[in-house]
């Protein structure tokens, strides 16, 4: 790579100057040892080949160089990856390359997604060295770093630059902070842009009879909802249980229902804690969020209380509802004729609805929830090689190639995935949806990526679910959740959680910081 540096640079200059055809450029770059993926991306970049190559190709090339070096030194010629079941499809296409060019076997240990965090904590105790790379959600980083089971990647990141903060190719802000950092240090490299967005049935929106009936009834045009109030109106209008068609497929099931509440809460300009770690959902806004959800219950799919992500996707794909709040993979399901027989080609997606603040302004906020990443095990026999794998897989170029493969959970997360997508990325997600993902991601608020995060999440989930099932009154549910939060904070240690919380909330979209008061937290 280094040997060819001058030749590559002259080729890039030649292409920028128009002295070379696209085909000639690709052939020349290939002859110089540049991967087809990098060459293609560079060729299509609006920045110009030279600038694009420096930025976009660099992360992959640097990772590969490190991988070569580490693989040559390694005595154990394999990398073992702990991954959630169902995610393997984004990784298997590269197994042969790692074997044939580096002599490294990639071995995947699949565990149910709810078990991955536990397995990581177990490894902290057992120290078996069974894993090299681990693929948790961002919520695992605090506990895993604190328990010493994974490396702080910051030094490697500074040395090998995976371009996670690059404005043109990096992970979209603020997810580049909240989905990868713990206390300002890099804990993992994001490989999955999990955020929830809103899907609607475009065929119903375009139906002139429905559009007229809707505008006659509500006084505004039928379209994808811009606010939570419109969301409620549209759901009530479209709800047709007699024909097995429901207003929305929003989740009310355990484990999922908390996100529906958290999403509404942040739309109202509230985060989960104030700067002193007092829970803030036990408030006027939290109560209103619960009331909104209760009002929506009558327009939901009857299976909403038992939905898992897959049963939800299947029901929407079968054409059993007008709207769905789901992850980007839900869009893929709805788009594919095999999983979305009733919805293929009939989806209009939008960012999560806004809510009106007290001053009358609209606040758009999104939930970044789940979102897998690669972490490196402290007990790996080849930590550098494990890091190289993580950087290589998440580089702007390889990730662009990996995400569109079916049979994996990865969704777009870098700027170039959404702003300069490859043909395959466009085929998988469509240009309008990639725009939606970008516009939603810039306003995302993280999950409980804090020490004890899983406990907070579960405590909130339990109470919200109890409220939705009628077991508890809204105020009672919020009081109980609030008490649980205070107990967890005391047990984990207020200062520890506070430090993490303040680091987490430092990097959010300005309107959200302003609305929540986080802009004054210092």
């Amino acid at each position: 790579m280094q040997k060819n540096k001058e030749q590559i640079e002259s080729t890039l200059d030649g292409f920028d100057a128009g002295q070379m055809s696209r085909r000639g450029f690709l052939q020349r770059m290939s002859a110089l040892g540049v991967s087809a993926m990098v060459a293609n991306t560079v060729m299509l970049s609006p920045l110009g080949a030279r600038k694009a190559f420096a930025a976009i190709g660099g992360a992959e090339e640097r990772a590969w160089a490190l991988a070569k070096e580490a693989a040559a030194k390694a005595t154990k010629k394999s990398l073992t990856l702990l991954i959630p079941t169902g995610s393997i499809g984004n990784m298997t296409p590269y197994v042969d390359k790692w074997k044939s060019e580096l002599g490294i076997d990639l071995i995947f240990i699949e565990e149910p997604d709810e078990v991955v965090h536990t397995k990581g904590m177990q490894e902290a105790v057992a120290k078996t060295g069974s894993y090299d790379v681990m693929m948790p959600t961002a919520m695992s980083y605090p506990d895993w770093i604190d328990s010493g089971v994974i490396y702080d990647l910051t030094d490697w990141v500074e040395k090998h630059d995976p371009e996670i903060f690059n404005p043109d190719y990096g992970v979209v802000f603020p997810a580049n902070h909240h989905a990868q950092l713990y206390n300002g240090r890099v804990a993992g490299l994001l490989n999955d842009g999990d955020q929830i967005t809103l899907l609607c049935r475009s065929d119903y929106i375009e139906n002139s009879d429905k559009a007229k009936a809707f505008s006659d009834k509500f006084g505004y045009a039928l379209s994808t909802p811009k606010t939570w109030s419109e969301y409620h109106d549209i759901a009530s209008f479209m709800h047709d249980p007699a024909n097995n068609f429901y207003g929305s497929l929003e989740y009310r099931s355990r484990y999922y229902v908390k996100w529906m509440f958290m999403q509404r809460l942040i739309s109202k300009g509230r985060l989960y804690f104030d700067n002193e770690m007092n829970p803030t959902f036990n408030s006027e806004e939290g109560l209103a969020a619960l009331e909104d959800m209760l009002k929506m219950n009558e327009f939901l799919h009857p299976d909403a209380f038992s939905f898992t992500w897959s049963s939800n996707y299947n029901a929407f794909g079968r054409g059993e509802g007008f709207m769905n709040i789901c992850w980007p993979s839900g869009f893929k399901y709805s788009k594919a004729p095999s999983t979305g027989p009733a919805t293929s080609g009939k989806i209009a997606a939008t960012v999560m609805p806004a809510d009106k603040l007290k001053d009358g302004t609209l606040l758009y906020a999104g939930m970044f929830c789940w979102g897998y990443g690669y972490a490196v095990s402290k007990y790996s026999a080849n930590p550098e090689l494990a890091y190289a794998y993580a950087q290589w897989m998440t580089s702007p170029t390889i990730s662009m190639d990996a995400i569109p493969y079916l049979g994996g959970y990865s969704d777009p997360y870098r700027v170039n995935h959404m702003k300069q997508p490859s043909e395959r990325m466009l085929d998988t997600y469509t240009a309008p949806y990639l725009d939606t993902l970008y516009n939603n991601m810039v306003n995302t608020v993280p999950d409980f990526c804090l020490p004890g995060g899983f406990e907070y999440q579960d405590a909130l989930d339990k109470e919200i679910h109890a409220c939705m099932t009628g077991e508890k009154k809204p105020q009672q549910a919020l009081d109980d959740a609030s008490r649980s939060f205070e107990r967890i904070t005391r047990r984990v240690g207020k200062e520890k959680v506070q430090k993490s919380w303040l680091a987490l909330t430092k990097n959010l979209a300005e309107p959200i910081k302003k609305a929540s008061g986080a802009d004054k937290w210092g």
Binding site: T85, G89, E110, E111, A126, T128, T308, S329, L406, G408
Partner: protein
């Protein structure tokens, strides 16, 4: 033999009990032969119009399911089936062997206090989740984590109180005089137990073996927690049938569940005469 005429109310009650008991089995078998489109259709499809064996094929050829546009199954279930058979059979053998001699010892040669049953059963008084982590540490230190010997050891430890206690109750119901007669004939204590006691509690032995085997065969928590790459069992494999392209693979899970039920059903039929005897052994107390 007491017999009771089958009256209409009794027939209805028995019929209802049969439906309630067999419905889950019926549903699993039907799901196992459904194509992916029918797995969680609304309204539910009771009997598939186009039954298929693709779910069973997928267990051993992960790509088989791709004909329905579903991908992402990465491993055949072969290792987990073999792992379950190996771990369950060996663990059951040791649990019964140790439990049998413990039971004979407790029944015939020990002066038990009131605390003895409590001590024996104390190992079963903790939920598996509570003792799983300590075992992870112990097994890591002793290098038996992620090995079949470790898994078998924990299975034996967990089922031994059951086997001991169940077998002890069968031996308690056997008159000592029969063994004493054998000893008067010149047999040693050990030979008396081997040639007299054990054949006479054969029914109870079969019933206990079946029960312990079912416990080992369906154990999930320890198999999940104590395994990484080398050890896998059917219950753990069942939890892994989730793909990004179709979510939970209910049909494939059901196919594996049907396979997992087979040895229990076949074994049950083969030893049912002994089972009936074992279950009722000692029902008439002396």
């Amino acid at each position: 033999m007491l017999s009771r005429p089958l009256t209409l109310p009794l027939a209805i009650v028995l019929g209802l009990a049969l439906v309630v008991t067999l419905f889950p089995v019926f549903w699993i078998v039907m799901t196992a032969i459904k194509p992916p489109t029918d797995w969680n259709a609304t309204p539910a499809i009771w009997i598939p119009e186009q039954p298929t064996l693709v779910n069973f094929r997928t267990l051993f050829d992960p790509d088989a399911i791709r004909e329905y546009g579903v991908g992402g199954v990465s491993q055949p279930a072969t290792a987990s089936v073999l792992g379950s058979i190996f771990a369950s059979v060996i663990a059951t053998f040791f649990s019964i062997l140790i439990g049998l001699f413990s039971a004979i010892g407790l029944s015939r040669y020990s002066t038990m206090t009131k605390a003895t049953p409590l001590v024996i059963l104390s190992g079963r008084m903790f939920p598996p989740a509570a003792i799983a982590v300590p075992f992870v540490i112990i097994f890591s230190v002793t290098n038996v984590i992620d090995t079949y010997s470790g898994l078998i050891a924990i299975y034996v430890a967990v089922t031994l109180p059951f086997s001991t206690w169940m077998l002890k109750s069968f031996i308690d119901d056997l008159p000592r005089e029969i063994e004493e007669a054998a000893m008067l004939d010149g047999r040693s204590r050990l030979m008396a137990h081997l040639t007299v006691t054990i054949p006479l509690v054969r029914g109870g032995l079969f019933a206990t073996t079946m029960f312990i085997f079912i416990l080992n065969w369906s154990e999930f928590m320890f198999a999940l927690v104590l395994s990484y790459t080398n050890v896998t069992t059917i219950p753990v494999q069942l939890a892994k049938y989730v793909t990004a392209t179709a979510g939970t693979l209910y049909g494939v899970q059901a196919a594996l569940a049907v396979l997992a039920m087979l040895p229990l059903v076949v074994g049950g039929f083969m030893i049912q005469s002994h089972l009936a005897r074992g279950m009722t052994f000692g029902a008439v107390k002396r």
